[in-house]
Every structure is written in C-alpha cells, then in structure tokens.
C-alpha cells in the first residue's frame, strides 16, 4: 500500500509532464494572484492612515496609493483569469488523454477481461473516475496551492503587524472549523438516511414505472400509488432533517466568524488607543480576518476531492495496466476464400478448475455447412470463441486449411468471418448506418437489399422514420427485430466464412424459415458454422455435431443421426413430439 500510493501520484504527475511549462506557469500565476490579493488590504489600510480628518488628508500620498491599487487590481484579475484558463486546459487535457487511452486500451484488452468484469464498473472507471481526476486536479491546482499560500502569507503579515491579535485569530479560527465538523458529522447520519430512503424510492419508482403498462392492465394504480406514498413520506422526513442539519454549517461558522471579528475589533481598538497600532492597520487586520478563515473551509473540501481523485486514478491505472491481447501472428494478409476449419487436440477451459473442452478434434470441410447442437453450457459458443480467438486455446491447434489461427494477426483472422450472435449489439445510430457497419460506404440500394434478404425491410418501413430511425435502448425495436438488423448487417457483405450463434433465437418460426432459406442460398459454397437451439433450422446442414460437456457425442447428417436414435434423436424428439 505504502509503495503504491506515491506511484499513483507520480504516474498521474507524469501525465502533466508534456504540459510542464503550463504547470509552472499556473503556480507562478497562482502565487502572484495571492500576493496581489493580499496587498489590497495593506494598501487600503495605508490609505486610511492618510485620511485623518477635516483639513487633514494627504492627497498626494493617497493618489500614489490609489494608482498602485488600480494596477494591483488589474494585475490580479488578469492573473486569475489566465490561471483559470491554464488550469482548465491542464486538467481537461489530462482527462481527455486518459479517456482516449482507456478506450483505445479497451479495444486491445482480451475479451475475457470484458467478460469477467461488470461493464458498469469499467464504464465508471472510464467516465466517472476520470472526471473525478480532472476535478481533483483542477481544484488541487487552483485552490490547494493558493489556499495554503494565502494562509501562510496572511499569518506572516499579521504576525509582523501585531503578534497578540494574530494569536487571537489563530486560536479562534479552529473553533469554527470544529463547529463545522461537528455539524457535518451529525448531518451525515441524516444524509445517509435520506440516501437510503431516496434509493428505496428510486428502486420502487423504477420497478413500477418500467412495468407501468402491467400496472395499468391490472388496474392496481391505487395500490401502487399508496406504496409510493409510504416511502415518499419516509423520504420527506429524512430529507427535511438532512437539509436542515446540513444548512446549520453556514450560520454557525458565521457566528464564530462574527465573534472573531468582534474580538479583533476590540483588541485592535485598544491597541489603537494605546498607540501600538494605526487605524489603517486595524482596517487591514479586519480585512485579513475576513480572508483568513475562507481558505480553511476550502482546503478541507479540496483534500477530500484530491483523495477521491487519487482513488479514481488508481482505478483508471489498474485498468490501463491490464495486459492487452497478445498478437504474435505474423500473417497480416490472407486471401479471402472459403477454407476448412480444423480443431486438432484442442484443450480449453475458462476456469482451470473446471476443464471444458478436452482433446477436441473435428474438421469442418471447406464450403460445407456445419451445425452444433447440445444443451446449454456444452461448449458450443466456446468453439466460436476459440475460432475467432476471443479466447486462446490452452493447447492444441485450430487451423484454417493448413494455417494455424495463431499465425494470423487477429484482425486478419476475424476479417475472414462474418458473425451473427445471440447478443444483438447495435450502435446508437440510424438503422441505415447499423446495417452498413462493416462497410460504411455501402450505397442505399445495397443496404435495402441486405435488409430485404434478412426479412427486415418490412418492419423497418413501418417505423416512423424508416431506415433513418435511430436505434436506442428504449425497447421501441423488439429483440427479434434487432436480430433481423444484425443479420442484415452480415448480409450486406458476407465473407467466405459465416458463424451464426443462436442468430434467430428471438424470431418467430415463419420468419426464421424465410431467413434460413436466404442463409442457405448465401451459404452455398461458403464454410459456415451454426449454433441453434431450435433444431428445425439446422436440418439441412451437411454435418451436425452434437456436443455434451465439451465433448463431441455424435456427428452426421440429420437423417443419419435420427436413424441412429441416439443423443440427437432424443434432443430432437423432446422438442417436437411432446404435446
């Protein structure tokens, strides 16, 4: 732990290195504006000392001070604005760099990383944590440094002027601090209660509103509203108390502050009477008292922010340190043609404790249509993961014709295949662009043709914006329809080898039949691999591979396997003969 923390900080700082000049400039500007800001009360005090009474005002001296003040003020404003601009550019620029690095790294990480880590977690690293870092850097660079500097310089200036009164200020300031802490501690409990009630209410609201149609169908609105009101009442109470308690911080610190101000006025007054101090000095002191307590409150906030930023940085670096997918393949280009796919003594498991695929041997001849069937978890999708090198086999060889897949660059290997998965990922973009995903320069005619082949053209035309409808996650397009678009995406430009993993699972049997016919046409002369749950779609396969527990149990055509009356025949009959 001890070794890790400085390294996170150092690493974060290394991101600032290219901007070293600006960082230094930022410190200089910050120091300058602190110095200049603190000069103002001194100048005001001095001016007051030249204003004594009727017929007793030194105009020449005042004019000189006034000119000086105007210059100082202008300089302060310029320093503040420039400093702010530079700090923004440093922190936002760092965030920008980190953010793109993270996303680029995501594309290089092995799929296994993405499969094993909750997506929400990765997302929060890439977005929330990086924002946290940029906030921390910004506040750190603007307020921490200038805050500490303000306190120190004020302290020195006050000490030089009057040690006794300084002592009073220094002794009393922590009181406001402690009071603020005390109030905050007590209100935190209420905030926690409020957060809990709010979370409960949000969960309730989310659950009921996402199923609002159901609530309507059952006519149970009154019951649901009553449930909402119950939690809402809870929240009302906690929310009132949390808001009230937390809002006590300002009045109490103001009270303490007023007391300090009064004390300075009293002691200062006596000092002036005792001629130990000028009236101008007193004015300067009162000005400092106003300035002195402010950075204290800010610094506590900044330190928390900074800690959050460091925690965020640690999480971001952890992600960036994940080892990328290895790519030792040398062959960067391979002719696109239909090839055989061979598994030769392949072993693989996701978890070393639970071997999945053991000594797996199979060859799918070039240009043939192979189907894989078997119960959930038997290793069907794993085969695809291995062919596409989303995962690497533990041992053994997988070859396209006689080229081991490991010899190919991953990008080139994947280029050889078109893939439709059960998981229907589509971009938040128009349907047109989604179909053209693999070839953004496709013409509309080609897109339309692909959609027709995927039986998607009909429903797309029924949408309010047709092909220009933007796909979102809100469920306006059903799972089956999403699947049809994914199929159209492949139909646009089918390579010589096809992989379909439960590609039609959400589509009704009639449409499925139509698409299967289209697929059959395309699969002519292409090597294809189909995983399907519904066995009706695979009857025409050249070879059916029945798998169980990572092993091949049977192999043959539909007719052969049915006649054999074994595992496949049982599977098939259980689907169609009951009822």
């Amino acid at each position: 732990m001890d070794k890790k923390k400085p390294s996170t900080l150092r690493r974060l700082l290394s991101y600032l290195k290219p901007q070293a000049f600006f960082v230094v400039l930022s410190f200089v500007l910050s120091a300058a504006s602190v110095g200049l800001t603190l000069a103002i009360p001194v100048l005001i005090g001095r001016a007051v000392d030249f204003i004594i009474g009727p017929e007793n005002v030194d105009f020449a001296a005042i004019t000189a001070i006034v000119i000086k003040m105007a210059a100082v003020i202008a300089a302060t404003a310029v320093c503040q604005w420039c400093g702010n601009l530079i700090n923004n550019s440093i922190s936002m620029g760092t965030a920008r760099r980190l953010r793109t690095e993270v996303v680029e790294h995501l594309h290089r990480l092995p799929i296994s990383y993405l499969d094993r880590h909750p997506h929400g977690d990765i997302l929060s690293r890439a977005v929330t944590d990086i924002e946290q870092i940029s906030d921390g850097l910004l506040l750190g660079s603007t307020q921490l440094f200038s805050g500490v500097l303000t306190i120190l310089v004020t302290l020195v200036l006050m000490l030089l002027a009057d040690p006794l009164i300084t002592l009073i200020v220094v002794a009393l300031t922590p009181v406001s601090f402690l009071v603020a802490r005390y109030v905050a501690k007590n209100s935190r409990k209420m905030f926690e209660e409020q957060a809990k009630a709010r979370g409960k209410l949000t969960a309730y609201t989310e659950e009921r509103i996402s199923n609002i149609k159901l609530v309507g169908v059952f006519g149970s609105q009154d019951e649901v509203c009553a449930g909402h009101d119950r939690i809402n009442e809870e929240l009302r109470g906690f929310s009132l108390r949390a808001t009230f308690y937390s809002s006590l911080v300002n009045p109490s610190t103001r009270l303490i502050h007023a007391a300090i101000y009064a004390a300075v006025a009293a002691f200062g007054g006596f000092a002036v009477m005792g001629a130990r101090m000028s009236v101008g000095m007193l004015v300067t002191f009162l000005g400092y008292t106003n300035q002195y307590s402010k950075p204290f409150n800010e610094i506590t906030g900044v330190i928390t922010e900074f800690q959050n930023a460091m925690a965020g940085a640690e999480r971001v670096f952890e992600l960036l340190d994940e080892k990328p997918e290895s790519d030792e393949g040398k062959i960067g280009e391979m002719e696109e043609k239909c090839r055989s796919i061979g598994f030769d003594h392949v072993n693989f498991s996701y978890d070393p404790e639970k071997p999945l695929i053991r000594d797996f041997n199979v060859c799918i001849p070039a240009g043939k249509k192979a189907a894989i069937v078997g119960p959930t978890g038997c290793g069907k999708t794993t085969m695809i993961n291995l062919i596409m090198r989303f995962y690497d086999a533990d041992s053994g060889k997988i070859c396209l014709d006689d080229v081991p897949v490991d010899d190919l660059k991953r990008t080139e290997l994947r280029n050889q295949f078109a893939m439709v998965l059960q998981d229907t990922w589509l971009k938040t973009d128009t349907i047109r662009n989604n179909i053209a995903y693999g070839r953004p320069d496709a013409s509309f005619e080609e897109i339309e043709k692909a959609a027709k082949e995927a039986a998607a053209d009909d429903f797309i035309r029924k949408l309010p914006d047709g092909y220009d409808t933007v796909i979102t996650d809100d469920g306006s397009i059903s799972a089956g329809e999403r699947q049809l678009i994914c199929i159209a995406r492949v139909m646009l430009d089918p390579p010589q080898m096809l992989i379909l993993d439960e590609a039609t699972s959400s589509i009704d049997s009639l449409t499925e039949q139509r698409i299967t016919n289209d697929f059959d046409k395309i699969m002519q002369g292409r090597t294809s691999l189909i995983v399907a749950h519904r066995l009706s779609t695979i009857k025409s396969a050249d070879v059916i591979i029945a798998m169980k527990d990572g092993q091949i149990i049977e192999k043959g055509t539909h007719r052969e396997l049915l006649e054999k009356g074994g595992f496949y025949a049982d599977l098939f009959n259980s689907q169609y003969n009951v009822g």
């Binding site: 105007a70 503040q80 594309h107 509203c225």
Partner: protein, 570 residues
C-alpha cells in the same frame, strides 16, 4: 411557475417565514460596518468601556443573526422537502393515469428521470431560493442604501457599480449557461460511446472496426475538451471581473471619500464603513451567481415536470358498466390501427367475434399484430377505425376500471414485483388463501411454491430474479387467474414452459370450473390447435379464421406455420 406556486402555497407559512428570517439576519449583518465606523471615529476617543460596549453589541447582533438564520433554514428545509414530496406523489399518480400512447411517446426511462432527479433538483432549488433569494438582494441593496445614507459624492459610485455588476453577472451567466448545457450533452454522448465500446467488443472486433471506433471516440473526446475550455473561459471571467470592479470601486471610495473627509463631510470611520459595504456586496454577488445557476437548473426541471403534468390521457373514460365476472363476448368489426401517423398500419381491417365461454387462439409471426389486437381490446390504445365491443358495448364507452377488472392478462414479459408472492398475486385486491392456492394449482405453480416452503409469504426479488423464467411465467398466469375475470388473455405466455408443463396447464385450464372466455396468443401450433376458433394473423390482416382442421386445408399461411413446426416429425 404556476405549478410550483400551487404546491408552495400549501406551505405558505414556512415559505414566507424563511425569507423573512433570512432578511432579519441580513439586516443585522448590515449594522456591523456602522459599528466598526463608530469604534474608529468615536469610541477610540472615548476610551475602553465604549469600545467594549460596541464589541458586545457586535456579538449580540451575531447571536441574534444566528437564531434568525437557523429559523430560516428550518422553514426553508421544511417547505422544500414537503413541496418535493408532494410533487413526487402527485406526479407518480399522474403518470399512472396515462395511456400506452403517452407512455410510449415519453418513454419509461424519461418518466423515471422526471420522478427522481428532476424532482430532487427542483427541491434543492426551492430550498436555496427560499434561503438566498432575499438575503443576497437585501445585503446588496441594504449595503448600497446604507452607503448612500452615510456618503454623499460616493453615492454615484455605488449607483454605477452595483447595477453594473448585476449586469455583468447576468451577462456572463447568460453566455456561459448554454455552453455548459453543451458540455453536458457531449458528456452524455461520451458515456454512451464508452458503454457501446464495451458491450459491443465482440462485434466491433469481428468487423475489425476497433480503429474506427477509437477514432470516433477521440473526436468526441476532443469535442468535449473544446467545449469544456470554452465554458471555462467564459464562466472564468466572472470572478476576476467582479473582483476588479468592486476593488476599483473601493479605490474610488478612498479617493472621493478622502476628499470629503478633507472637507469634513465624512469621517475616517465612515470611509472604512463604505469600503466594508462594497466588499460585502462582492461576496453576496458571487453567492447570487451560484444561486442563479441552481435556480436555472431548477427551473429547467420544473419545466420538464410541468410538461409531463400537461400530458393528459388522450382517451376519455367511458361510463358504462359490464359484469366483469361473466364470460365476455368480444367483437372486432373492421378494426384498423397504426402506432404513428406516418407508420404503416399495424393491423388493418380486422373483423372477428368471440362468443362467451369460447377459447380462441391467435397465431401469426413477429409483428403480425397479435399483441396489438389485445392492446386495442383493452383500450390501451384506441382503434383508429372500426369498432370493438365487449358484451355488445363499445370499449370506448366502458368505464376503464371495469374493463380492466373484466380482463385478466398474462403479458409476454413475465414481470413480477419485489415483495411477497401474495402481494404479487393480489395486486392490491383482497384475496383469500384458498383462491390463491387454487390459482397456483391451475397455473402449475403449486408444486414449486410448496417446495420453497414459504407458502404465500415467499419473497420475490426485484424483477423476480430468484425464480427461473418458467416459474415466473407460471406465477404471472396464477396472478391472472386469481382475478376471477370473465376474459382471460394469455399473450405468448407459455414460451418458457417445457412441453409437458404446457400440456398440463392447458388441461387444467380446460377443467377449471370457472366459466370464462379465453384468448391464447402463441407462435406454437400445439398451444392453440384445440381452440374453438383460431385466428391467423399475417402482416396486420386476418389470413384465416376457423378450427385447426379447417385452417389446415383452407389457409396457406397456417399450413406453412404448421409445416415449419410439425412437418419435421418424420
């Protein structure tokens, strides 16, 4: 604003007292510079006791200010928390009165945001408004007024500086707020991008689009950076400008004030008081700027909430009654409907009738209009053309609550709510244990519920995550059965059941002593082939109506479906 007024009026006492107390606090604060001036001008000349008296006065003022501030905070918190809670409650009720059409056009995720973050934002804005909207102006105006009473020639200076600063603050805010909302928009896009880059990893790699995606992201990230800098450059003007203006004004006070002290119009202490008033104005103006930002966010939320309140259920409620427990007669006569104005019709020219007590099957492919027919029957959407009647009365004229209790629906998506099994079955009505168990038994759910050993008290997690798909589906069937309605609609609700369970369910439904009309929607021939009547839907039109054997010989669409499913047996 009118909307908010309605709610705040309920807490009028708190909403008035909060700013009044806040105002008192501000007034006490305004007295401080006057006292400091007196200390400098006269007390120091008079001696120690005078100084101490004034210092004690300062502390007393501080205490009184503290008490008023605390009262103000309490009233503000109360008014805000209560207003927020009331709006939340009413909004939730309102959302529950909307029809499907309105829900679709708004979208459930938006509804949820309105209910949660928008109401919270508004509550915060009310709170801060009550606390600050009088304080800041009072300090600013009060300081100006006090300064004008004290000063003479300096009045002009205050007269120019204060309105000038106000204008400056508003100008900068007006310029920077649109820039900030642009930043937020781009940030949302960035989040979406990352999300898609993670979830689409397989597809992106399969299409070899990593570089294209990374490039797109770099561009978005660059856009965010530019927008953030633009916002920072403009909003960053506020502090330096306000600082410069106020301090230059202070310079002016010293210069002009010095002259007046020379002439004996002002004293030294009053010049200091004038300087102090000017500094106070600066602090309050910065607070005011923050308040304006919070308020503008609150106003935006208020506007969105208001828009939601203004969406009314477009379907007027009917006033006629039917008997909800008797088996229903249903008649569709030349019904057409489309989801949007430009969209192709989802169903067109559909006519059929169902006699009381009949079991009817609805079959057809994805998007053929089966579920739409049910939605029209339940008047979740209003048919565009044609008429739909239940027991001879058009559904438009039947009271909505009566229609809802006359039809028990098992929807496609087997959704359950977190809570007990009993609460999920009853959905807010009174049901006896006997009724509940009877329904569970018919729905083939009794066995696994008993196995779990918790009876009707069985806890169901959010979304039914502690049950399997088939179990959830059986519970949703039981939930419909327990309503004892005259019309049961099963919308593709046995898809997660294995064939044996489905057969047992069909048998139990047939033997159920309750006399009811049943509509079964399915993609499986086996689920509906024993129905009294089968309606075949194809592309929003009826392709055939009849019994299984009639359709097999007379309806090509039906035969095709049959062949894809059953023709494989040999």
């Amino acid at each position: 604003m009118k909307l908010l007024g309605k709610y705040i009026r309920k807490y009028a006492k708190e909403s008035i007292l909060a700013p009044v107390f806040k105002m008192l606090e501000a007034l006490f604060e305004l007295l401080i510079p006057v006292i400091v001036a007196r200390i400098i001008d006269t007390d120091i000349g008079l001696g120690g006791s005078a100084v101490i008296k004034d210092v004690i006065l300062m502390i007393v003022l501080g205490l009184v200010g503290f008490v008023s501030a605390v009262s103000a905070q309490y009233f503000a918190a109360k008014s805000a928390a209560c207003t927020g809670a009331d709006i939340r409650s009413d909004l939730f009720r309102h959302i529950n009165t909307l029809s499907y059409k309105e829900i679709d056009s708004v979208g459930t995720s938006v509804l949820i945001t309105r209910m949660t973050s928008d109401v919270n934002q508004l509550q915060n804005a009310v709170n801060m408004f009550l606390r600050l909207f009088l304080r800041a102006p009072i300090i600013v105006i009060g300081s100006t007024a006090a300064a004008c009473i004290i000063g003479k020639k300096t009045n002009l200076l205050f007269g120019i500086t204060v309105p000038g600063l106000f204008a400056l603050v508003f100008l900068i805010l007006a310029l920077s707020m649109p820039l900030n909302s642009k930043v937020q928009q781009v940030l949302e896009k960035i989040t979406l991008s990352v999300k898609e880059n993670i979830s689409g990893a397989r597809v992106i790699r399969a299409f070899g689009r990593q570089n294209a995606e990374a490039k797109e992201f770099r561009e978005r990230s660059g856009e965010l950076y530019k927008r953030q800098l633009a916002f920072g450059a403009v909003s960053g003007l506020l502090n330096p400008f306000a600082y410069a203006v106020i301090n230059l004004a202070i310079v002016g006070i010293i210069y002009i004030g010095g002259g007046e002290v020379y002439e004996g119009v002002l004293t030294r202490g009053t010049v200091v008081a004038l300087v102090n008033y000017m500094s106070q104005i600066l602090l309050e103006l910065i607070k005011l700027a923050n308040l304006i930002i919070i308020e503008s966010r609150g106003l935006a939320s208020l506007k969105r909430i208001n828009e939601l309140f203004e969406i009314k259920n477009s379907l007027a409620d009917g006033d006629q009654e039917i008997c909800p427990e008797e088996p229903a007669a249903v008649c569709f006569d030349r019904v057409s409907f489309s989801y949007g104005e430009n969209a192709a019709p989802a169903v067109s020219d559909v006519s059929f009738s169902i006699l009381p007590g009949q079991t009817v099957g609805l079959i057809g492919n994805t998007g053929s209009g089966k579920t739409t027919l049910v939605n029209l029957l339940l008047r979740n959407y209003e048919a565009g053309e044609g008429s739909i009647t239940v027991d001879g009365i058009p559904v438009k004229k039947i009271r909505r609550s009566v229609l809802q209790s006359a039809a028990a629906v098992v929807p496609q998506k087997a959704a359950l709510f977190s809570g007990t099994l009993r609460a999920n079955l009853s959905m807010g009505r009174e049901i006896s244990d006997e009724e509940a168990w009877q329904a569970l038994s018919t729905a083939q759910a009794k066995g696994f519920v008993e196995e779990k050993g918790e009876g009707l008290g069985l806890r169901i997690e959010e979304g039914g995550s502690n049950l399997s798909g088939g179990q959830k589906q059986r519970l949703t069937i039981a939930r419909a059965l327990v309503r004892n309605s005259g019309l049961l609609i099963l919308d593709d609700s046995s898809s997660a059941l294995d064939f044996a369970t489905e057969a047992a369910l069909r048998k139990a439904l047939k033997e159920d002593p309750k006399d009811r009309t049943t509509i079964i929607i399915s993609q499986r021939i086996s689920s509906i082939k024993d129905a009294d009547k089968i309606i075949v839907m194809d592309g929003g039109k009826t392709a055939g109506i009849g019994t299984h054997s009639e359709l097999l010989s007379g309806c090509p669409v039906y035969r095709e479906i049959y062949e894809t499913q059953e023709g494989t047996n040999g």
